[in-house]
């Protein structure tokens, strides 16, 4: 088997190199006691981003004393369950890739280590809204931000021109544009509200200033039906109810078709939208443009995020210092970040990388908008803080069920939001957390 052979060769090389490094010079400046003391350190890393093994190969070439092996996993809630199960048996890998909203779940299951002492000075490399999501606003650091998905407004430039629409800067204008389009072209819609994509709704609520989970002392407070979220859900529920926008879910074949044929003119999505559009709407390449997300107040500038993940060190790791060193390199080193952009197609969370050479050129699909990433970086800076709790998965599932029903019935989202709130609170209590009334 060529794989096994290559692997064992690589391992042999690493061991050899490591041994040489040890005998030749004790300190290579890595400052990792464990690595210097007990020979080369071997770390395993569960990640799902495509091409991560190639990025890690760069690290391994430079750091023979700390060898990282990527074990590619499938992303999503199932992986969170897998990590927690492995942590219960003390068999978790040294490093894991984790979505921001999964971090509280992992931390409350004691799966992630606090690496604050090993990553001093890293904080300033990230936007505060992002950093807060890996630290929960405290001193402990449970993960380093890797990629982010600031929300933006994508629209069909050609069709906007054709129907005489202007790009909305506020949500009020957004609603007016949707109604205007319906009048001019009843068969087309500005966009759709997808009850399948809890993450997008969470991002929109985040922009409006919602705080879904907050923590005070020993008690959690769930604010899914807070005023900000209610504003967002009333807005979208109203548009769906009056028929101004579509109500079909995203990422289905029929949605792909609607995007590809111009049945839908716009998409509220994140910075990674070009990748999705390339496969969903291949025929409309070069006809789209990106603008900042519409605002709740005239002249405001704030956005939410959809997606994004971080690198965390587990409590099971026997080499936390080395693992933290690798995580720091992966998410702050210009070489690593350039490779992540190229190989994994991520949008880096590190602010310096957002305007770096790797992102100098607009994505192919948006070749008509050469300053795509310059504008994206400006938008990314305005990301509002997000507040995640230990049972985001439960809230997300409840969202899909309740909002799915309401969107289909076009009955407004009032009761749906209340139902999501109470399902989340009930589950938190059941898990044994204190929940404030």
């Amino acid at each position: 088997m060529p794989h096994t052979m290559r692997r064992s060769l690589a391992a042999a090389t690493a061991v050899l190199l490591g041994a040489t490094a040890l005998t030749a010079c004790g300190s290579s400046g890595s400052g990792d006691g464990a690595a210097a003391g007990s020979g080369p350190v071997s770390l395993t890393y569960w990640a799902w981003a495509p091409g991560m093994d190639k990025v890690v190969a760069l690290w391994n070439a430079e750091h023979p004393d700390i060898k990282v092996t990527v074990q590619k996993q499938a992303s999503g809630d199932d992986l969170v369950t897998k990590i927690i199960t492995a942590a219960k048996a003390h068999k978790a890998p040294d490093l894991v890739q984790a979505e921001y909203q999964a971090l509280p779940t992992l931390v409350s299951n004691d799966a992630l280590a606090d690496i604050a002492p090993d990553v001093a000075g890293v904080k300033d490399k990230f936007a505060p809204g992002i950093w807060q999501q890996t630290t929960f606003g405290g001193e402990a650091v449970y993960a380093l931000p890797q990629d982010s998905g600031p929300l933006m407004f994508f629209y069909r430039q050609d069709l906007f021109k054709k129907y005489g629409l202007s790009v909305p800067t506020t949500w009020e204008e957004f609603a007016a544009t949707a109604r205007d389009l319906k009048k001019k072209a009843p068969k087309q819609s500005l966009t759709t509200f997808s009850a399948n994509d809890s993450g997008l709704f969470a991002g929109l609520a985040q922009q409006a200033g919602a705080a879904w989970w907050t923590f005070e002392g020993d008690t959690w407070k769930v604010g899914i039906d807070d005023a900000a979220t209610r504003k967002v859900s009333d807005f979208w529920g109203g548009l769906v109810a009056e028929g101004a926008i579509d109500n079909q879910p995203m990422y289905t074949p029929s949605w792909n078709k609607a995007m590809n044929t111009g049945e839908q003119l716009a998409w509220v999505s994140a910075v990674w939208a070009p990748g999705t559009l390339t496969t969903a709407a291949p025929d409309t390449k070069g006809k789209w443009a990106m603008a900042p997300l519409p605002q709740w107040t005239e002249g405001g500038s704030s956005t939410g995020s959809w997606g994004g993940s971080s690198t965390a060190v587990t409590t099971d790791s026997k080499h936390k210092k080395a693992a933290a060193q690798f995580a720091t390199w992966l998410n702050t080193d210009p070489v690593a970040l350039a490779a992540l952009v190229k190989e994994s197609g991520i949008y880096p969370a590190a602010t310096a990388a957002q305007t770096s050479g790797a992102l100098a050129k607009a994505p192919d699909y948006f070749a008509n908008q050469p300053d795509f990433y310059t504008r994206a970086a400006e938008i990314a800076k305005t990301t509002a803080p997000a507040a995640w709790g230990p049972n985001v998965n439960v809230a997300y599932t409840a969202f899909k069920d309740e909002f799915g029903k309401a969107a289909k019935a076009k009955s407004g989202f009032d009761t749906a939001l209340t139902a999501v709130q109470s399902a989340t609170v009930t589950d938190l209590r059941k898990q044994g957390f204190e929940v404030a009334k």
Partner: protein
Amino acid sequence: MTGLASPPLRTTVNGDGRAAGTTPGASQGRPRPRRTALLPTAALVLGALYCLLPVAWVVVAATKPDNELFSTFTFLPGDGIADNVTDLSAYRDGIYWRWMLNSVFYAGLGAVLSTVVSALAGYALAIYRFRGREAFFNVMLTGVLMPPVILAIPQYLLMAEADLTDSYASVLLPLILSPYGVYLGRIYAEAAIPMELVEAGRMDGAGEWRIFRRIAVPMMAPGLVTIFLFQFVAIWNNFLLPFIMLGDDEKFPMTVGLFTLLKQGASQPSLYTLVITGALLAIAPLIALFLVIQRFWSLDLLSGAVKS
């Protein structure tokens, strides 16, 4: 389908002169005219469509290049099958074929081992009288009712105690003892092996092991083939156990491997074309196995062995 087109009062007669569908007792008289049953036929055709349409979809979808997958008519074949297979083989240096080999290894070895255990246990339960036999069998029966899914996490924690997680053994070991296989083994041994034959063997001086090997196993062969196939398919399609047990993606079976292509994070489009092509190729070994093995089913070694 011909049944639908034929006139409703046509008589269908089998080769041996009996009216199809009549019981042997009734058939001793003259052949009876029979109405073609429209309703059952329609129901069966619907059932067949229900089973075959998704397969047809996979076959057609695997021929479409990326940009046609969702945009052209669903059952209009594309011309990208060769490219899709090439892309799949190129994906991460051909790791798909490694997953395929892993699946063959897990399913092949797992099914063989589990068939051996089922044969031994089934034979013992059927032939020997010993204390606690029924109790043991009943406990096994409850195992049949227990879905393997709920056992995956306890099994993981047990494997972790033994320091065996993330190894080939961690996936193989839990599959060796199959309650359903033991159950089938016992039922089949009881039906296929007459006690007289076992006693005749003893009379002639054969040891118990020799009787099992030389007399019982050949007689149980069709049943053992069934157990083997059941287990092979079950392990081939198994998802949760390897998903929980394995961290190293080079040890993944195909099911878990293809899942990583579907879920690459919220910002990455799923590699639908590759997954569909991979799923289609994954059926091929199963079909081949069925074609090769099905002839053993017709073997009936019992015929003529004893007078009844």
